[in-house]
């Protein structure tokens, strides 16, 4: 069972590769608004969902691919954890 830190690390690595141009140390905190601040757009959000599904063998329902569940690293981590229970 991955720890919350493992999941956060997965998300951070994904963001570094897909949004921040490889710069993992960029100033994104666990609470930084990812969608509202337009740091990630819809395509990146969908890629992230696919990546989390493959990594953790979970499945997001169509309505769950939503700003509510993807708004920050903390929120995504909590959502992935509930999916793994």
């Amino acid at each position: 069972m991955p720890t919350p830190d493992d999941i956060k690390q997965t998300i951070r690595r994904f963001l570094a590769e897909n949004v921040l141009g490889g710069n993992e140390s960029a100033a994104i905190s666990d609470d930084t608004e990812l969608i509202e601040s337009r740091l990630i757009d819809s395509i990146v959000a969908l890629k992230l969902v696919n990546h989390l599904e493959e990594t953790y063998k979970i499945e997001f329902e169509a309505h769950e691919v939503d700003q509510e569940n993807l708004s920050s690293i903390n929120v995504i981590t909590a959502f992935v954890q509930t999916k793994m229970k």
Partner: protein, 513 residues
């Protein structure tokens, strides 16, 4: 031909024939009949007339797509005014700039979207408009042309430009749509594109002319490709029109294999090139079978059995002016692209070289009754984009094309205009915003692809000695540009590469990413 009909009259004619049919629906289950939509749009038209809105007026609209907003568009048209849909995701500063440019007689917006500092008194039309919409009225000067709508597109000098579409332009498009796709009363359309994008004219007005039903989709359903796939299937949509990027998102992320798409008979796309490989992948998933097993040399693909695919081409200024029915191509070449096809009936075309002479390959010029009236208050730009040949007025598209057996092929742009996921972006508009930042000395914007082939907008920025921060630049751009124009990557450089004559070397930039 019913050349004398005005855009909303197609709807009124259908409403008289099919009063009890459903005209519009939403995914949450709201709907309105033709009869009720005719009544509601009439109430809006009367309320607008009381405010002296009429022929020659412009009504700016800023609200999420809804049944009420479409009724308001029809009401605006019935009052004699032109509707001007603005992007509800635009930052307030941009909305203010567009309103200054448009000088509208009315501005109607969802309550939360009213920007502060609108120089007017806000009046709420609570009796006729719902609680959700507020309206402000201005004395602005009326125009002379018979405009149906104005759509703002990216402008190379830093300000968007409003393409003015007359009733005749729009009516010719609707007639062409009916003739080509033959929708029947009850045909179910989706409205995927936002209303400030010209694809929406097909979804709303062709459907409402035919007695069809349009399912109105907003960002929350469209940008979530999984929800889009689910809704298109469960709502049994028959004809769906979207950009190739949207279709690609459905096929890559939407899990379409989970759903039944037997109702979906017509897939239309426009706005950018759809590679055959990606289209084939979509067809495979919608049909739940394999057409391509790996060797393009031996394979023959005929994914047309279950539904038709159409490649539509045309800038906002002409709406669709060429189209290609993919069944003409028989076998799909997996490494290729489809042509943009033949010129639509009624339109005329020329391919012109740099000297303005007819050529085999060159810039596409479009003439005919669907060519727009011009850009709103941009005489210099109009002088640039219109050309006359043999007494006929042509719009210079800026697109590089070639032709074979009357079938056109698209080869890119003759200028720097970029397409990002079907949206037109003039790099000059984004560069002008970057240059407003106090620490930016030079800026150039180019397009690139991410590793999966999705479009990215790249800003190359130099501070001439000042230290630049990508996040600060991103926030600066987000405060002035709509989401689709926000650069995805910021490359911070000492200075930008120059050509021998000292100008920014844009070609060098594209290659350096």
């Amino acid at each position: 031909m019913s050349g004398s009909l005005r855009l909303h009259e197609f709807f009124l004619r259908a409403a008289a024939k099919h009063p009890e049919r459903i005209a519009l629906e939403t995914p949450s289950g709201e709907s309105i009949t033709y009869k009720a939509l005719a009544q509601q749009s009439l109430s809006f038209a009367q309320a607008l007339a009381q405010q002296h809105i009429g022929y020659g007026s412009r009504i700016a609209l800023l609200a999420p797509k809804s049944i009420e907003l479409v009724a308001l568009m029809l009401g605006a048209l019935r009052s004699g005014a032109a509707y001007v849909p603005l992007d509800p995701a635009s930052p307030p500063e941009r909305v203010r700039a567009l309103l200054r440019d448009l000088d509208p007689q009315a501005f109607i917006a969802a309550q939360g979207l009213f920007p502060s500092e609108i120089p007017c008194q806000l009046e709420e039309l609570s009796s006729v408009f719902s609680e959700k919409l507020g309206a402000a009225f201005f004395p602005g000067e009326k125009h002379e042309e018979d405009l149906a709508y104005i759509l703002y597109t990216s402008g190379s000098t830093g300000l968007p430009k409003g393409a003015c579409i007359t009733h005749e332009n729009a009516a010719r498009f609707v007639e062409w749509g009916i003739e080509t796709f033959r929708p029947q009363p009850g045909t179910r359309f989706s409205s995927i594109a936002p209303l400030h994008f010209d694809l929406s004219v097909f979804d709303i007005f062709v459907s409402l002319a035919a007695g069809g039903t349009t399912l109105l989709l907003n960002d929350s359903e469209v940008k979530n490709a999984r929800l889009l796939a689910q809704v298109l299937s469960e709502k049994k949509i028959n004809a769906a029109y979207a950009t190739p990027s949207t279709w690609r998102a459905v096929s890559e992320f939407g899990k379409p294999g989970k759903y039944d798409f037997s109702s979906l008979k017509q897939i239309l796309f426009a706005g950018e090139v759809f590679s055959c490989r990606h289209l084939l992948r979509l067809a495979e998933q919608l049909d739940q079978r394999k057409y391509y097993e790996g060797d393009p040399a031996n394979a023959g693909f005929y994914p047309q059995q279950k539904r038709a695919y159409y490649n539509l081409y045309g800038p906002t200024e002409t709406n669709v002016c060429t189209f290609y029915d993919l069944k003409q191509s028989g076998r799909w070449d997996v490494d290729g692209y489809f042509p943009i096809g033949r010129v639509c009936r009624g339109a005329s075309s020329m391919i012109v070289d740099e000297q303005g002479d007819p050529a085999e390959k060159g810039e596409l010029w479009i003439g005919g009754p669907q060519v727009f009236a011009g850009y709103w208050k941009r005489p210099e730009k109009n002088a640039e984009v219109f050309a006359e040949k043999n007494g006929e007025r042509f719009y210079r598209t800026g697109d590089l094309v070639s032709v074979k057996n009357n079938c056109f092929f698209f080869h890119g742009r003759i200028d720097r205009m970029i397409k990002k996921r079907g949206y037109r972006i003039e790099p000059g508009e984004v560069e002008a915003v970057l240059l407003k930042h106090p620490d930016v000395l030079e800026a150039a914007v180019t397009s690139a692809k991410d590793k999966d082939g999705f479009d990215l907008l790249v800003a190359h920025v130099a501070g001439g000695g000042k230290t630049l921060e990508a996040e600060a630049l991103r926030l600066h751009c987000a405060s002035l540009l709509p989401p689709h124009m926000l650069p995805d990557r910021f490359l911070l450089l000492e200075e930008l590469p120059k050509t021998a004559s000292g100008k920014i070397d844009h070609k060098g930039l594209s290659e350096s990413y």
